[in-house]
Symmetry: C2
Subunit: 453 residues, 2 copies
């Protein structure tokens, strides 16, 4: 009995047409990574669970895909534990490995393991899939690619300026208009210090984020409802209602933080990064956004987030500076800053805006029609010459009906069809049909190569 | 307490230097795949175990990495089964998914699921990792890449000719001298028919393979020891001792198979493929090898195997024709032929013979030394211009000691170092140092771009 095959929910096959589009995005990102001096690494799909567990919070631990130990996986498990049926504890006994959840933790592990071979500052990029046992939904998958670039071993803000330039160049090439939002963890720490309530910082950023939608009074109400004192709300109201140019906002923040050292440090860093970036010129809009908090407990300095200006979708790229990523693996004091391109969301943006160049969908430049063995033999010899000249070419492998053969070229969007029939066999020419215009011409091999190059 | 990190046995990290070499191989293969009109697909790392189980024999099933179901994986498991501790049965209850074992079965599943979107003949390539819980050893890994190209939906032998040309082109580009060995499953079926013992065909191919090492008499002894009758051994001795040119061997086989239809069909197919290939010209040696049996129960026609001529290593590429790959998923009658490049062995061969072009190890074309903020700002502006001209460039992010900065360029093999110090800030030039020759020159931006392009 034949099975009706399927794939696990939340995962995807990519057809040639989809791959062409995805490769266009990955190739663009990869090229810009290289242009900026980043070098590629790869890490295994499976990591030891001891490397992954506890790095993504309790919720993250649950979303790890775990790999069952090979062979007699129950052998050394306490029978009592099996009887109790405690899944969490049992899982950690019968699974030693799991699929990576992101590229950041494996990268930290990599840096620690290879510290003696690496040249610091180490600029690496990595483009690989990650897996999360999330509930699948529109735009959220259980297997998806991340494209990360990080610099570790340098605390210079030049790295931030470079990464913002890199983001700008990627989206300039892709033709996506973006806003790059910047914040700094030290500004958030400053706000928390101002109001004497470090634990309320998430509530505050959530509230700041709503100002455009619900207005200042409702935001103030909400903050008080979340247990923030009226005095604290008064203190941070100028921050919530920050407006004007980036320079004006920075000046304003600076005066609010007058005697708050950490806040002032954050403003100074933002100023340096924004001034350095703007001096070089940028296609993107650059915007100070004090509501930006991404993975708060993780970042220690600059925070970066990218929004597409012409599509309603979440952040399409993000990142920031962290000061102690490798500490947990025994290598403290390595400062780093990194960004991650969300390939799947970028794919959705490009699909929505239809921003793909036309030529990427080409399977092959020219298809030769097959009229039988003598003609096919001559076609194969010509094809060999074309390929030697760097032109992709193929022959329809079977001597099928002309209509069927032409149909293939049509469906696959092959731009040219070449014909070597009886006539061409005799006079040594090739008839070339331009599939877009319908135009036909009879060419020598040399002219054919010139034409298709 | 910091953990000392490690990675699962049989898996590998790839450093930038290793990635550069691997990418050189993958890019070469990918480029040739495109040149021959193959289109890329990707499938998920995890497949349903129902897709994978039973496709690789009993041994293969054991080598599948299984993914533990998320959440309360014991919920619907019979407590009795848990108590008995039958690992195989329990595994299939608590694991629905597993990591792909090769690219062939996922491809067959893909073809069946996407049959209505695909244009047949469908020429796909796929370059992705696969996972096997094999005992790790030198040159054998638990995670490794396969690079497959297949044509399905055509039984024309032109496909075989094209794939052999493709193999030839890949190794020509990589600079590896190879022998392409060919056989045909129908020839093996013919031999089995001749001796009336289809179940002995593996014994026979193993024995034929030893002829060069132990001589004909010992091979004959071994065959009889394996239960093949003296009469049968006499019958197949001319096959075992086949020698001479490919044409001579084919003639010889043809006369041996005089009244064996399937054997004659195999010879005819081999003749057509070899003649077609040789007519087009080939760098590789092409050799008929009747001992070639690779995955006997799987192939139905042509069998291909590639050996490196200058390195002692197993087959570095292999493949063949199969007639019913998709049948198990409910789509019978789809003939296909495919090849698989063994990326890891090819990597070993290129390392052994040191066949990598020099430029692939370059992290970046030019590194700017960092002399402080004013100089760095000017450097970043110049770097922006270089990148716009397609030249990869970076600045040392920190104002570190000159020796340390130069050390980076040296260690990473960066070919040029650019210097913008006080003097250059004033006169608007850039000093460029060629790291190989030690030569320094003072250049305008325009000259710098020209020089580095």
């Amino acid at each position: 009995m034949a099975q009706k095959p399927s794939i696990p929910k939340g995962t995807r096959d990519f057809t040639p047409a989809e791959m062409a589009r995805r490769n266009y995005i990955f190739d663009t990102i990869r090229e810009v990574f290289h242009l900026f001096g980043f070098s590629q690494i790869e890490t295994p799909a499976m990591e030891n669970l001891s490397t992954l567990m506890g790095k993504y919070g309790e919720e993250g631990d649950k979303l790890l895909f775990k790999t069952l130990n090979s062979g007699d996986f129950l052998k050394s498990v306490d029978p009592e534990l099996i009887r109790t049926g405690n899944c969490n504890r049992l899982a950690s006994c019968i699974c030693e490995k799991g699929l990576r959840y992101d590229l950041t933790v494996p990268f930290a592990r990599f840096v620690v393991m290879h510290r003696n071979e690496l040249q610091f500052p180490f600029k690496r990029f990595q483009i690989q899939p990650v897996w999360r046992a999330d509930r699948p939904q529109k735009g959220r998958y259980r297997e998806f690619y991340q494209c990360d670039a990080d610099v570790v071993g340098s605390d210079s803000l030049i790295n931030e300026i470079e990464l913002i330039q890199l983001i700008d160049e990627v989206f300039r090439r892709l033709g996506v208009r973006i806003t790059i939002k910047l914040n700094n963890r030290k500004v958030l720490a400053g706000i928390a210090e101002l109001i004497g309530a470090p634990d309320k910082i998430i509530d505050i950023t959530v509230a700041i984020d709503k100002i455009d939608k619900i207005g200042i009074e409702k935001v103030q109400e909400e903050l008080i409802g979340r247990g923030i004192s009226a005095e604290a709300v008064r203190l941070i109201t100028p921050i919530i209602t920050l407006s004007g140019t980036n320079a004006e906002r920075l000046d304003r923040l600076e005066s609010i933080f007058a005697s708050c050292e950490i806040g002032l440090k954050g403003v100074a860093e933002l100023r340096e990064v924004m001034a350095g970036t703007e001096a070089l010129g940028l296609n993107a809009d650059l915007e100070l956004d004090v509501s930006l908090a991404r993975g708060l407990n993780y970042y220690t300095g600059t925070i970066i987030e990218v929004k597409a200006r012409d599509v309603e979708i979440g952040s399409i790229t993000g990142g920031g500076r962290y000061d102690n990523l490798t500490g947990i693996f025994g290598l403290p004091g390595v400062s780093g800053v990194g960004i991650s391109f969300g390939a799947d969301r970028i794919y959705d943006v490009l699909n929505t805006l239809n921003l793909y160049p036309e030529e990427i969908s080409e399977a092959v430049k020219v298809m030769f029609v097959n009229f039988g063995s003598a003609e096919a033999a001559r076609s194969l010899a010509v094809i060999r010459q074309l390929r030697a000249a760097g032109i992709s070419a193929e022959i329809y492998p079977d001597n099928a009906k002309m209509k069927k053969q032409m149909g293939r070229a049509d469906t696959l969007g092959i731009p040219y069809v070449a014909i070597i029939g009886e006539t061409e066999l005799v006079d040594g020419t090739i008839t070339l049909k331009d599939m877009a215009s319908g135009e036909q011409s009879q060419l020598s091999l040399q002219d054919l190569i010139e034409k298709l190059k």
